[in-house]
């Protein structure tokens, strides 16, 4: 069984200084985001436009996808459709085999993480080099990214230094980020130059042009795509937007929300393969059409993967991405993943205080905290909740339906806590582990009111 978020989070917090560091590092990103968006007076309008464009796109999605396919094909791009993650991997494997390719670089694509492409290919003897610096670091360490924009945010420079010493032969103990990045630069530029196939993600696919946009800061998607003879771009079908002019809205929203930058360093618009190049797009469903049919949850498909909800989430910052045990962590992951596997991910919608900060930072206005609440109802309805919780909740329902039982229980409870406090003050009570219980008063407000309430008025 997959370990649950609460347990993994508890492990993470064991190292409190490191937890503080993780929290502060991500809060710093959130603050950069705040500074950037406060420089745009029309920010809230921009979010509204982003949201409405995505709502419109989802409401006409089948048409837009057909239009995109037609235009892209006319541009010389080969379109593939994958109903599942498995099929996505098979399609890519076939292209690799057909071209007899050995050297593959891949820039960041959360979809390929979702489909476990690297594992799939590795089992078939094919190595993929992740070219985003953060992804390369976690790949060396055989870890999963812990954040969709900042994959190695859970690691300190000492960790990276050790990893690079082992894999890139850098000086032992040299923790300078500049030095370490330079080492990765040399290593990866060699990989780019010799690459035969480049895999990238897709940030936006434009129905009216049949082209697509990929955003990076490092330039790694471009270094790969423009070097290799074959380029495969992988996209979830929800990446479709209707028109080129809509890119203006999303490119204004994306980087400001993600890292507080005004725009990513490179926003590359691919329209046609270059001379002699083969270009493929794999359009993936993998549960998305089911999510589209869930009225309460469909607008999670508006997500543009900026990770602003990660950075602002007080739970994510103190539990780390790996505690979410899925490829997309954080609040958005907690509303996407139950759709993929409700049972395995039944803990995730509960890994939130429902504080609502995620909804406030979301550039396309996904009501994340409301969907977390609704997933909780769905998970209980489907029976994916432990029996003790169920019994407790049923008891509570009775208690609060009958005022007399409520009063009696309250009275006994307070009496017990006063007279024999060890009944609640013990390590079996999770509240008491690191917190004192409230001091129970002799009388409830109601008791007081019955005695004094009316005299107040005189």
């Amino acid at each position: 069984m997959t370990p649950k978020h609460a347990d993994l989070a508890e492990q993470f917090i064991t190292d409190e200084p490191r937890t503080n560091w993780h929290d502060e590092t991500l809060w710093f990103v959130r603050e950069k985001r705040d500074k950037a968006v406060h420089g745009i007076p029309e920010w809230e309008d921009l979010r509204e436009w982003g949201s409405q464009i995505k709502n419109h796109s989802l409401s006409n999605l089948s048409q837009y996808l057909k239009e995109f396919e037609e235009k892209a094909t006319a541009n010389g791009i080969q379109i593939h459709w994958a109903a599942t993650g498995e099929e996505h991997n098979q399609i890519i494997h076939k292209i690799i085999q057909k071209n007899n390719i050995q050297r593959i670089v891949k820039s960041k694509s959360m979809l390929t993480e979702e489909c476990h492409l690297n594992d799939y290919l590795e089992h078939r003897g094919i190595e993929v080099v992740d070219s985003d610096l953060g992804e390369r670091i976690v790949q060396f360490r055989k870890e999963a990214p812990s954040h969709i924009v900042l994959p190695a945010i859970h690691l300190k420079k000492q960790d990276v230094s050790e990893t690079f010493h082992e894999h890139l032969n850098t000086e032992k103990g040299n923790n300078d980020p500049q030095y370490l990045t330079e080492a990765a630069r040399g290593h990866l530029r060699d990989k780019f130059v010799e690459s035969e196939l480049s895999i990238t993600g897709v940030n936006f696919a434009i129905a009216e042009t049949g082209g697509f946009v990929v955003c990076t800061n490092e330039g790694n998607a471009d270094m790969g795509a423009h070097s290799a003879a074959v380029h495969i771009a992988c996209m979830g079908f929800e990446k479709i937007i209707p028109k080129a002019e809509h890119l203006a809205v999303f490119l204004r929203l994306l980087a400001r929300s993600a890292t507080g930058q005004p725009i990513t360093t490179f926003s590359s618009h691919f329209q046609k393969p270059r001379d002699g190049q083969e270009m493929h797009i794999v359009i993936v469903d993998n549960g998305r059409s089911t999510q589209l049919g869930r009225e309460d949850f469909r607008n999670s498909l508006k997500c543009i993967r900026c990770a602003a909800c990660f950075n602002t989430c007080p739970v994510y910052r103190r539990s780390g991405g790996h505690s979410y045990h899925t490829s997309t962590a954080g609040p958005i992951g907690s509303i996407l993943n139950p759709n993929l596997d409700m049972k395995a991910n039944s803990d995730l919608p509960f890994a939130s205080t429902l504080c609502g900060s995620c909804t406030n930072v979301c550039p396309v206005k996904i009501n994340i905290h409301e969907q977390l609440w609704k997933w909780r109802q769905e998970i209980v309805k489907n029976g994916y909740v432990d029996t003790t919780k169920k019994i407790g909740m049923n008891g509570m329902a009775v208690l609060f339906s009958y005022p007399a039982i409520y009063r009696l229980t309250g009275k006994i409870g307070r009496w017990v806590m006063r007279v024999v406090p060890f009944i609640t003050n013990n390590q079996l009570n999770p509240w008491y582990k690191q917190r004192e219980m409230p001091k129970p008063p002799k009388e409830s407000f109601r008791d007081w009111y019955k005695k004094n309430g009316n005299s107040q008025k005189n």
Binding site: A6, I40, E44, L354, P438
Partner: protein, 245 residues
Amino acid sequence: MKVALFIPCYIDQFYPNVGIASLQLLEKLGCDVSFPLEQTCCGQPMANSGFASLSKGCDANFVKNFRGFDYIVAPSGSCVLHVKEHLHDDKNPLEAEKIRNSVYELTEFLTDILKVKNINARFPFKVGLHNSCHGQRMLNLSSMSERVLPAFSKPQDLLNMVQDIQLIKPKRNDECCGFGGTFCVFEEAVSVKMGKDRISEHQANDVDYITGVDSSCLMHLEGILNRQGNKIKTIHIAEILNSSL
């Protein structure tokens, strides 16, 4: 103006002084206040745990107790939000709807309905205001650091009317304390860590008290403070607004 006082279950049982302060404050401000005696709970603990389907009996009891008033006021943002968003009663749908539209959190009621401009209260202490999430982000009691909108704060405006109070903002003015209903036990480790982090920011400001509109957040922070042996105390905003120290 007929006002019903809704005292959430845990305030009734553990924090009667918050109920008393709310009652006295509203009466001082000229409201005709009743406390329906058969009230229990709003049903939020069940609903937020995924058991909204179990809250029917609780909801029916709520409607039975709170129908027929002009306003329903509670010293808790979280419980008010739950009623506003989720109270339903198949047998009395119209009454449930009327309650949903006339339930108010205390500071919201003082600001928007009573339009209070002066409060006769004194509280000569250093105080840090904890913005509880449900009050702030969902009931819109104050502006939010994430949004690009003009700044305001209903609880802070009221506290500024109190004599000799010294309000100091924590560094992260609107971060969650980690209570989160049953989150506080099912995600105990994160919950406590979040609470400790809130406290350390107030501690850096050397406050005497942490206040807020939700006793649930305060109960959680108080539990940690007491375990730490910390001298900072928690106090509900109603108690400050009703204080004559």
